[in-house]
């Protein structure tokens, strides 16, 4: 179990932290996972016109970001490009 967790990524504390960050923003903004899937679909359609991307590798979620000193909900999208490990990040304020 120890090894499998090392191979497949984060320890459970880190997983909990990441899940909570998404969950709390979703709770506050009334934003369902289906809604995020819809955004993901549209993002995929737009970006795939220009770049060779895989929908399965895309991550779209809500997080908190600092806007000046204030923390605000922010849309987070990670779109691996061309199957390589390069990750493009961009933030859009909603």
């Amino acid at each position: 179990m120890y090894r499998s967790r090392r191979v497949f990524g984060n320890r459970s504390g880190e997983i909990a932290r990441k899940r909570l960050k998404l969950l709390l923003v979703a709770d506050k903004t009334n934003c369902s996972p289906e809604f995020l899937e819809m955004i993901k679909d549209d993002l995929f359609l737009v970006i795939s016109k220009y770049l060779d991307i895989d929908r399965g590798d895309m991550e779209v979620g809500l997080t908190k970001a600092f806007c000046g000193r204030e923390q605000i909900p922010a849309l987070y999208a990670a779109v691996p490009v061309d199957g390589s490990l390069i990750r493009g990040h961009f933030h859009a304020v909603i």
């Binding site: 984060n10 320890r11 459970s12 504390g13 880190e14 909990a16 932290r17 899940r19 909570l20 960050k21 969950l23 709390l24 709770d27 506050k28 923390q71």
Partner: protein, 263 residues
């Protein structure tokens, strides 16, 4: 100047009552005139955690309904001359009291006490609204678990919407050994997620179970959680004490020393 503090959490079972009992005891040890109020009507527990369950004559609902005077219902803790408990009613439900009555009750107590601590029931219904009605300050208790933190976040939102003066965080049942190996969120992680000031961190400590079994709060005793609770009380009184996460006695070293002692 007296202060009314509500101890709340949203989720049940994270240690609100234990925290109330220990902060109340700690403040009384430090010389503050302290009243503990159990606001969980129908499910009273603070009396038994304090070890005062055999001395109840009247309760909170009796005071509110005028069946007795406040002084008759307050139980004096013989171990600490400054500490009193107002127990909850066991045979009534949350609708027996409303927020206006709670405001009046806490106002009446302000004349005789420096600190009035309200032990809030779990949930966000009327019991919660009653408990926070008269409070100047709120302490949100959580554990480093996803469900407790999610509920704490909801509670913080509700407290802020009601213009609660100061809202501070207590992270309970921290296991430093699990945090160290990455299998538990750290106090900093919890603070970062909930984004409110930290008042203290309590280790997951076996002595709490022993203390509850005996009905003797352990604030100020030579135990990890006893020290952590006393630190919290001193911070409430305005002392500048850095937050230490005391080791709850489950680390490898303490296990080893424990084993060697037994051997």
């Amino acid at each position: 100047m007296s202060e009314v503090i509500v101890i709340t959490s949203g989720k049940g079972g994270v240690g609100k009552t234990t925290t109330s009992a220990n902060i109340g005891t700690g403040l009384a040890m430090l010389g503050m005139r302290t009243a503990l109020i159990d606001t969980d009507i129908g499910l009273r527990n603070l009396d038994v955690v304090m070890g005062l369950e055999n001395r109840i004559v009247y309760n909170l609902v009796d005071v509110v309904e005028g069946n007795c005077r406040m002084k008759q219902a307050l139980i004096r803790d013989k171990r600490y001359p400054n500490l009193y408990l107002l127990p909850s009613a066991q045979t009534r439900d949350k609708s027996a009291v409303n927020p206006e009555q709670m405001i009046k009750l806490t106002e009446d107590l302000k004349d005789d006490f420096d600190y009035i601590l309200l032990d809030c029931p779990a949930g966000i219904e009327q019991g919660f609204r009653n408990a926070i009605a008269g409070a100047d300050r709120a302490l949100v208790v959580t554990t480093p678990e996803v469900s407790a933190i999610r509920d704490a976040d909801r509670i913080i939102g509700l407290l802020e919407a009601r213009d609660m003066g100061q809202v501070q965080l207590i992270v309970n049942r921290v296991r430093t050994d699990m945090v160290r190996r990455g299998d538990m969120m750290s106090v900093d992680d919890v603070m970062d997620i909930l984004a409110i000031p930290l008042l203290g961190a309590i280790p997951d400590d076996e002595s709490i179970v022993v203390s509850t079994n005996q009905g003797e709060p352990l604030a100020g005793t030579d135990t990890p959680s006893g020290q952590a609770y006393l630190d919290i009380c001193k911070r409430l009184l305005g002392e500048d004490i850095p937050v230490t996460v005391y080791d709850g006695g489950k680390s490898f070293i303490s296990r080893l020393t424990g084993f060697l002692k037994r051997a």
